[in-house]
């Protein structure tokens, strides 16, 4: 199939295996430039693995991926310049100040000094953290960290912004504020927004297009009303449950909690 010019993300027959386990199983989808795209699925469905492949952190086992027209395996740096990302867990250095985290990012993305300083100021003002710019990130609340990460992800003016469960643990005020900004950015700058979430009403309200992944396969895609029509349901949540079933999924085990304890011990 020929590459369409307006597809900023193009995934063809993508498979990712970890040993015997198939995390992503022969999926294909595309995202138009300037679209707000929601990638939904239960825990362990393959969302994060797909995002890692799109963002050059993992290589696909089989299949073809193009991000902004470039292959993440062949041209990682070109792909990296084209997107910003807000990860599921924080990825800030909490021993640095908010401003230093921004500055570090700007330098790594070759944003020239003058522009960098201006943008840092305007982005931090926007997320209402400018008066806290010299505070260490470890003093920040979860919501403040999230806001800082969003500001950081936009610092190099990416064409695409990936958000992996960006609103997890945020209060409704912060959530609304964040989406207002992203919608505005999408409208004004044409920035493509690619996000995952477990809040169905959020996807319903914000996304132009939705894809639902389960057990490594894309089981449905389209607009929210198309999905509701297809499943004969009235809400996206019901549509989601009707497509993915009611079985509760095991979340992946993580050793971060142990780490936090041992870090405290060693930091003494």
């Amino acid at each position: 199939m020929a590459l369409e010019m307006n597809n900023i993300i193009e995934v063809k027959n993508l498979t990712k295996k970890f040993g015997e386990f198939t995390a992503v199983d022969d999926i294909s989808f595309s995202v138009n430039e300037g679209e707000i795209f929601a990638f939904l699925g239960p825990n362990g469905a393959g969302k994060s693995t797909t995002i890692k492949i799109l963002t050059t952190l993992l290589a696909p086992t089989v299949g073809k991926v193009l991000v902004n027209g470039k292959d993440p395996v062949a041209d990682p740096d070109l792909v990296r310049r084209s997107f910003g990302i807000v990860f599921q867990d924080t990825s800030l250095d909490d021993e640095l100040t908010a401003w230093e985290n921004m500055e570090f990012h700007g330098v790594l993305y070759d944003v020239p000094k003058k522009i960098r300083r201006e943008r840092i100021e305007s982005l931090m003002k926007f997320v209402e953290l400018w008066d806290r710019k010299d505070s260490l990130v470890k003093e920040f609340s979860g919501g403040m960290k999230r806001r800082l990460e969003i500001a950081r992800g936009l610092l190099h003016h990416p064409k695409i912004i990936f958000l992996d469960e960006p609103t997890l643990g945020l209060d409704p005020q912060t959530r609304n504020h964040m989406w207002e900004y992203l919608k505005d950015l999408n409208k004004k700058e044409g920035t493509t927004v690619f996000f995952t979430t477990h809040y169905m009403e959020e996807a319903d309200r914000i996304a132009g297009k939705i894809a639902i992944i389960d057990h490594g396969k894309i089981i449905a895609s389209g607009t929210s009303s198309e999905l509701k029509e297809k499943t004969n349901t009235t809400s996206l949540e019901d549509a989601f449950l009707s497509l993915t079933g009611n079985v509760i999924r095991e979340d992946q085990a993580s050793s971060v909690d142990n780490m936090r304890a041992s870090r405290r011990m060693w930091r003494k």
């Binding site: 890692k52 952190l57 993992l58 250095d93 640095l96």
Partner: protein, 247 residues
């Protein structure tokens, strides 16, 4: 510029963690004072001279090996706390990330070594010449690079900090105790002498002694050649293993 900002990050983190600086000075200082003064008279009676003077370069080596392996291993934390992801999605090669981090870690370890040197001088260590004190700093940095690269390698192979104790007890402690940091390498039993020869820290401590107290077992030239070769090999291996880290 990118390597510089990675370096700067390490330095800032180091200077901000005052408790860590103090904490990691306590152990070398305890060794220096307890052993230095404790064994001093025995050492003197054996006709070897001043034990504090002999011991201080070894204790500098001790603080460098512990600090640099530790800063290398900190990559595990960067991974667990997510900051490694921020670096890995940036338009920068993995090799440069590793180089920036390693130079930063080695600088921190060198600063720690300099502090121990100054403390030792306050507590009775007399280097032979001021030139030696200046010249020993780049050698400290070389030794620090070597062990930071080793720490990076270890960090790339471990999933979490659970294995850290194992590494400390079965690798770092033996490297320190068998290096001749605490005892002269002359007249050792054959086995111990061979083990000391295989230990990179032996050459580091020997080079420090050569510059600080003009006493050397292997000779400064050989020390520097061996340290440089091992550092190059470890940096290469560190870079190789770092590339394999999965986020």
């Amino acid at each position: 510029m990118k390597i510089y900002i990675l370096w700067l990050r390490q330095i800032k983190r180091y200077l901000r963690s005052k408790s860590r600086i103090l904490g990691s000075l306590a152990q070398p200082l305890l060794f220096l004072l307890a052993m230095g003064y404790g064994f001093g008279s025995v050492y003197q009676k054996a006709g070897e001279g001043n034990y504090i003077n002999f011991l201080a370069p070894g204790i500098i080596g001790m603080s460098i090996i512990f600090t640099s392996v530790f800063t290398g291993i900190e990559i595990i934390w960067d991974r667990q706390f997510g900051f490694l992801k921020e670096m890995m999605v940036a338009p920068m090669s993995r090799l440069n990330i590793m180089i920036g981090r390693t130079i930063g870690g080695a600088t921190v370890a060198t600063m720690q070594g300099i502090i121990v040197l100054i403390l030792a001088m306050i507590f009775g260590f007399h280097p032979v010449s001021f030139t030696g004190v200046i010249l020993v700093i780049p050698v400290m940095f070389l030794v620090a690079l070597l062990f930071t690269a080793l720490g990076t390698m270890i960090a790339s192979l471990l999933d979490d900090m659970q294995g850290f104790q194992l590494i400390m007890n079965f690798l770092i402690m033996p490297l320190f105790f068998l290096s001749g940091a605490l005892f002269p390498l002359d007249g050792l039993p054959k086995t111990l002498s061979i083990i000391a020869r295989l230990d990179p820290l032996s050459y580091g401590v020997d080079a420090f002694r050569s510059l600080l107290i003009h006493s050397s077992h292997y000779g400064l030239g050989l020390d520097l050649i061996i340290l440089s070769i091992i550092t190059a090999v470890f940096l290469g291996l560190g870079g190789y293993f770092f590339k394999k880290i999965q986020i």
